[in-house]
Symmetry: C2
Subunit: 679 residues, 2 copies
């Protein structure tokens, strides 16, 4: 049961798609109070309550014991002390042991603070703005609450099937030849690859919807060369539009007043990668339509996937703020600079980027209504992605286009996925990415993944290998690294056959991953789930922070510690452990319910099949290059059955929007003896 | 067996105390090569080799898989991507499964890089300067190698017994009244307390060896007031001396040429907390003697403990570098600042502090020899502490004085301990501090601890509680937090009786902790040991990264994850688990060898007693206020014996240097029936 509470004059964010009449009851689940500062929610937690949700944030699956702030921020240092990452995902489930659990969604695109037991261990306090809509979701189980919420916010985005293949990225592929080298590097070692990403360097002076002609002399020709090699190119689109005379996107936008304005109605100047730039007014429907239409230029050249970046929006500095700071710095010159002045200087310069004052310095024209940016800050990236998604429906209405974003807000999950931003080559970030996945799924974001191997810092061979062994289960499986870091393509390391084996296991699992992803979309389910969602009566499940259910048949327990010989695994019920050195070299073993230490060598992939469940595993040719090499008639069935196991297999052409209707989903039944891979 | 290899013209650092003739052999353990860039060491690791050591660094007990750089750095963000912390501890044991293990010590106070398998998983590469002494240590076991190395570097520092009590600190105690409040806060809740720390605010304008008269109107009187309440005051001493006319320390130092000089022989000006300051030339024996003598002024007022800080040395900015940067910044004013200039500006300002160029801008007069600072960088904090330690031997020859430091180098362990610097209120830093302890012990640093609860960021109640449950086993047990963070004294949280219970358990364990500490000092043993040191034939022990042996009788397995219900524990042999809610409420249970999941509530302290081992546990009065309340005649014996258990108890007066000679150490034997606390 969903109830809706309306406060003040909330903006229509588009997060919810179901029309629900506003409730006039007093909310009985949490204490809701209104004041001049905004709306506050209070809930006293029992010791055993667990908090699930909040999408992309730091820390564990259980969000208790910290304060999270929905305030989209381009901050690449994702330590456990950070209160905000790139998104605003205000959905939280309070899981209670002795009473029914419930969910709460704060639909407000301004700043919202969740003190989830940081100040006092047993107090959950939420503070949001004056104008907001609050939904409570009651249901019989965690799964049921999650499903209701997902119905409220509408069906998640569907990526083309090739976007479930292995993908390679690097900020540093500067030319067609760099990309060719990356493709050859994989193919030369027999490693399948479905996409290569173009980071900001492909553009002409970082101008959106341009391609540098020197680096990519004949871009459409290059796109088809890559397609012939089985590789999709996925260019980045940044939020900021370069100020440059003669650049049509800039000139059109200025002429039509499509950019965000300062208080006086002048275009607001912010510096990002292209230098001084203007921010398209993504909250204005005409500007959005215009910006979205620009993607066509690249699609006409054969591009069928994009990633939207810098859309918190990140601001390196604003023209007005920089001037203020520089004036102040220069006035310090003649002082005998003391410590106070020194720290002030450091603070001024460090505070130039993503400065909160800047977010109060520009305005949107939301179809006639002038709104200061900070009030709708968390919607910017969401609406940029909506702009693209809505445009794709017009430009290529019958085809799926890959789309994901850095910044997001609930509602954006209908238009695209996300990647978890600029993480680092830290073992802790491998664990973090495991923990983020179910929280994102709860908020509707199913197409998601982290930068495998880590974006910042140098990856080591063992980190990349362990990260891939988790990454083979994430819908978005992309290796990405920052400029200046150690080359991170798998073929840059030793033991390349081990890497090849891991990535081939992904392709073997792809029919299952794709099937589970699609069913989760259509049924409003979570692809990744914390253990307590499937085992609500298990006393230990709520404390398991490093294992996930992935789809309906399997549980994963990735190794995320350096130099580990394996890890502890908790089994809420008897399961079959599948240990793979390669797609061809598998070993199955039944483990009892309870705690286990499982040895897992660096080059081993391990997962657990639930009882009376099974999954398809594609048998691959030795020379498979991308998803097109997966043969639907050559599946092995991996299963753990007492008598028989069943599986509902979803499949389709992977490209069109002719999705297979539910009544045509394939129900496969195998008796114990018919299982290809079992104990 | 220790071998010594001499390269170039090494400086006498004082790290080693045994005289060993230089070997003329070719080293058979590692490949040593000399070139113009310096000395390189290479070793190809087997898959099962484990690397122990390197003292204060990030990451795990096993140092494989990352590059560590000995280059003392004041960097408070101790993420796993950081290559240097505050010290230079160049001792490493290569633990081998199929061949004898060995240790390697690089005695060079300049930069040394340990690529411990970062570039290639199986390659250990060490790069150091041209002038160095390298020692190899061969022995029959890890313990034996560790012991030989410790004999080489000499007996570790002995703290007074009160420094094993609970200690409270905060950067933010600004006045006598602030300190009184902290003491009352503890005593008012029946929480014992042995010391309160004075951070930089006690000084007059941050001048070393001054006390602000307004904040502390009668300091000697205040010191004795605190002593009467059972509390020692421990003031901070910073490395930099403020430039201020009329300030005797500054004027004397200038007159006698006791400060570091620039290339032209002028005093080198660096800004630290007091503003523009000069750096005492700690490598000059006269300057050292002079600086050490200054501590007397505080000791004459009753002070008997110090912590040396900012001695990497940290430099906020140097006068010369700031001028250069400001000139450059100002020259940018009239440019239409582009992105390149903007990042350059940010880099300039961010690079002002602890700039490597600055470390090449000043010189030491090492008793007649002019040495550029960067060549001896890692010795600075060590020699500052040596200055104090040697002075104490003259000022208070019969008494122990508490002394520890932020920066250190092997050799400093003979003069004082360390704390692990400016960590944060992160769960990962609780784990890090567990992992740092045995590495520090290997390098001789026994008196050590982390800032309990974390220095930066806000601690939550659960983090502080779990951290204390580990901290009760560390010789230095100090709660410390930075200015601007949430108040972190235990009485600032809820459930104060739980905190009281934990701290009282420390006092109950104190006879054991002190005894084990002192025996480790005299016998050149490690107080904290990785499991593989005690269980060399156990196949799983080398992979246990979150459990430690603490003294000879017990193993600890702290909980370091938020919202955990307990943790996995590995037992290399059958042990007795002791679970304590308080000193009075104990429960014992025998656990078999192997893997276990152990439930550990937030307010429970758990440790494991080894078979046929025991330990004393003091029975405390309800109103015990500090260590003086521990009654030597009221020990319970906690033990796990088949037939009988033995324990060698060390004790002494805790203050003088009249240490109990080995033949008078008390050997206690208890039969099963005589044990007070057992199964």
């Amino acid at each position: 049961m969903i109830k809706k509470y309306v406060f003040g004059q909330p903006l229509e964010t588009g997060a919810a798609v179901l029309e629900i009449p506003a409730s006039t009851d007093t909310c009985s689940l949490m204490r809701l109070t209104q004041s001049e500062e905004g709306v506050s929610l209070f809930y006293r937690m029992e010791k055993e309550d667990v908090l699930y949700g909040l999408g992309e944030q730091v820390r564990g699956i259980n969000k208790r014991g910290f304060s999270y702030i929905s305030d989209a921020t381009d901050d690449p240092i994702h330590t456990e002390g950070k209160h905000s990452l790139y998104g605003g995902h205000n959905f939280l489930i309070i899981s209670r042991r002795h009473k029914p659990s419930f969910g709460i969604f704060i639909d407000n695109p301004g700043k919202t603070v969740f003190d989830a037991g940081e100040s006092k261990l047993d107090e959950l306090r939420i503070q949001t703005g004056c104008d907001c809509v609050i939904y409570t979701v009651e249901g019989e189980s965690l799964k049921e609450i999650a499903k209701q919420f997902r119905e409220l916010i509408g069906q998640s985005y569907i990526a083309p099937k090739w976007a479930f293949g292995y993908q390679q990225s690097r900020w540093g592929y500067e030319s067609a030849d760099d990309v060719r080298e990356a493709v050859s590097g994989h193919h030369g070692h027999g490693i399948p690859l479905d996409a290569v990403y173009l980071d900001i360097d492909y553009m002409e002076r970082y101008k959106d919807f341009t391609v540098d002609k020197e680096k990519f002399p004949d871009f459409p020709e290059f796109v088809s060369e890559m397609k012939e090699r089985g590789v999709h190119l996925v260019p980045i689109i940044d939020a900021g539009v370069k100020i440059e005379e003669g650049y049509p996107v800039y000139e059109e936008g200025v002429r039509e007043n499509y950019f965000c304005k300062d208080e006086n109605g002048n275009d607001f100047v912010a510096a990002v990668w292209p230098g001084k730039s203007l921010l398209p007014d993504m909250l204005n429907s005409k500007a959005r339509e215009w910006f979205g239409s620009k993607y066509k230029w690249l699609m006409d050249q054969g591009i069928d996937g994009f990633w939207n970046d810098m859309n918190e929006p990140a601001i390196f500095y604003s023209e007005v703020h920089l001037k203020k700071v520089m004036d102040e710095v220069i006035s310090m010159k003649d002082e005998n600079m003391g410590l106070h002045e020194f720290f002030h200087l450091k603070g001024l310069v460090e505070g130039l980027s993503n400065n909160p004052e800047d977010y109060r310095r520009f305005y949107h024209n939301m179809d006639g209504v002038k709104i200061r940016h900070d009030k709708v800050h968390n919607l910017y990236g969401c609406y940029m992605t909506k702009a693209a998604g809505e445009a794709f429906d017009k430009i290529a209405p019958d085809k799926r286009t890959l789309l994901f974003s850095r910044s997001s807000y609930i509602g954006m999950h209908r238009y695209g996925g996300i990647w978890t931003g600029d993480n680092a080559s830290w073992w802790n970030h491998l664990l973090l990415s495991i923990q983020q996945m179910p929280s994102l799924n709860l908020c509707g974001i199913l197409y998601a993944g982290s930068d495998i191997g880590g974006f910042g810092c140098d990856a080591t061979q063992d980190l990349l290998m362990r990260w891939l062994e988790f990454g083979i289960f994430t819908p978005l499986m992309r290796n990405h690294a920052a400029a200046g870091t150690r080359p991170q393509e798998v073929y840059q390391f030793e033991n390349i056959p081990d890497f090849r084996n891991i990535i081939r296991i992904r392709y073997g699992l792809l029919p299952y991953i794709y099937s589970e992803y699609m069913k989760a979309v259509f049924d409003h389910e979570m692809y990744f789930r914390p253990l307590a969602f499937d085992y609500p009566f298990d006393a230990h499940a709520p404390y398991v922070e490093d294992q996930l259910l992935a789809g309906e048949s399997i549980m994963i327990a990735p190794v995320y510690r350096q130099n580990a010989s394996g890890r502890y695994v908790y089994l809420p019920e008897e399961m079959m452990m599948v240990r793979m050195k390669s797609l061809e070299e598998k070993h199955c073993e039944v483990l009892k319910a309870g705690h286990h230490y499982v040895d897992i060598a660096l080059n081993e992939t391990v997962f657990f099949v639930k009882k009376n469940h099974m999954l398809p595993l594609a048998v691959l040719d030795d020379d498979i290059r991308n998803i097109s090499g997966i043969d639907k008639n050559r599946y092995e069935w991996v299963g753990f059955a007492e008598d028989k196991a069943e599986y509902v297999l979803y499949d389709d052409d992977g490209m069109s929007k002719n999705y297979t209707p539910k009544e045509q989903w394939t129900k496969v039944t195998r008796s114990v003896n018919e299982l290809d891979v079992t104990v």
